[in-house]
Amino acid sequence: MPTTLTCRTFRRYFSAWRDGDVAVPTDAMQEHATACGRCASLARALVVGVRVLRANELEWPISRSTPSIAP
């Protein structure tokens, strides 16, 4: 199914699209992501990967006291 954006253009805009940049042609991006399995797969990989990163954030270790600068 042909779309108004090529894969190359989709990928050039993708980062700005993710950040909600108003200059990006949102409808065309959405249309391409729906029609192109390869680009949709990359978009999904970024979302899932970042979700995994956020879910595995470190906590400050209990065994280690909060950094103190007090003399």
Partner: protein, 203 residues
């Protein structure tokens, strides 16, 4: 998406931090401890993602706060405090990577620490999960960790600052000493590389 514009909550956070800085400089002994509590976990995660060694990251967080304490009187209070703190942390992480590349021994030690850390339980595993889900989650976590580690330091830095720390392009430009165009270009490439490395395993 939608994290581009700073929220009212983050504006409030900035005002409160500015107040803590002012209180510390006015001699309030509790104010610096509050600043530490507010930033220690964020800095730990940022430095850890940059250098890939948890124990060393903890040391560098402490070093970052020592620097903040020593130089806080020189901080330009018209600027954003968090950007200044991340700049200090970023410089420490870059120094660590530079030193590591010069010293094979340090590199070995960092690899060993990383290996030991891999034995820790996953935070998103829960006891009710089915074994195959737990295996998949563990595999996914390792995949994502390795993928971030494989990004170049420049790409990793902007990727972590944007995706995990939620920094704006302007803040990232300040922390990394780059112009906005470079930040956007590096972020685009970092996201593309990250996605391309992970996608085959998700399909």
């Amino acid at each position: 998406m939608g994290r581009w514009v700073s929220s009212p909550a983050s504006e409030k956070h900035n005002l409160e931090t500015a107040d803590l800085v002012a209180r510390h400089l006015d001699g309030d002994p509790r104010a610096f401890g509050e600043i530490v509590k507010r930033y220690q976990i964020r800095l730990l995660n940022f430095i850890y993602r940059m250098i890939g060694d948890r124990e060393r990251a903890e040391d560098l967080v402490q070093e970052a706060f020592i620097r903040v304490y020593r130089h806080l009187h020189r901080f330009d209070r018209t600027k954003k405090f968090s950007t200044w703190v991340y700049t200090i942390a970023s410089n420490l992480a870059k120094n660590e990577l530079r030193n590591r590349s010069r010293s094979p021994l340090v590199f070995y030690q960092s690899n060993r620490s990383k290996h030991e850390e891999d034995a820790r339980p996953l935070q998103f595993e829960d006891s009710r999960s089915r074994p195959d889900d737990m295996f998949r989650n563990r595999h996914l976590k390792e995949l994502v960790d390795n993928t971030v580690a494989q990004l170049s330091p420049h790409h990793r830095q902007v990727f972590v600052l944007r995706e995990l720390e939620g920094k704006s392009y302007e803040e990232i430009a300040e922390v990394t000493h780059c112009n906005l165009g470079t930040v956007k270009s590096r972020l685009n490439r970092a996201r593309a590389s990250f996605a391309e490395m992970i996608a085959p395993y998700l399909d």
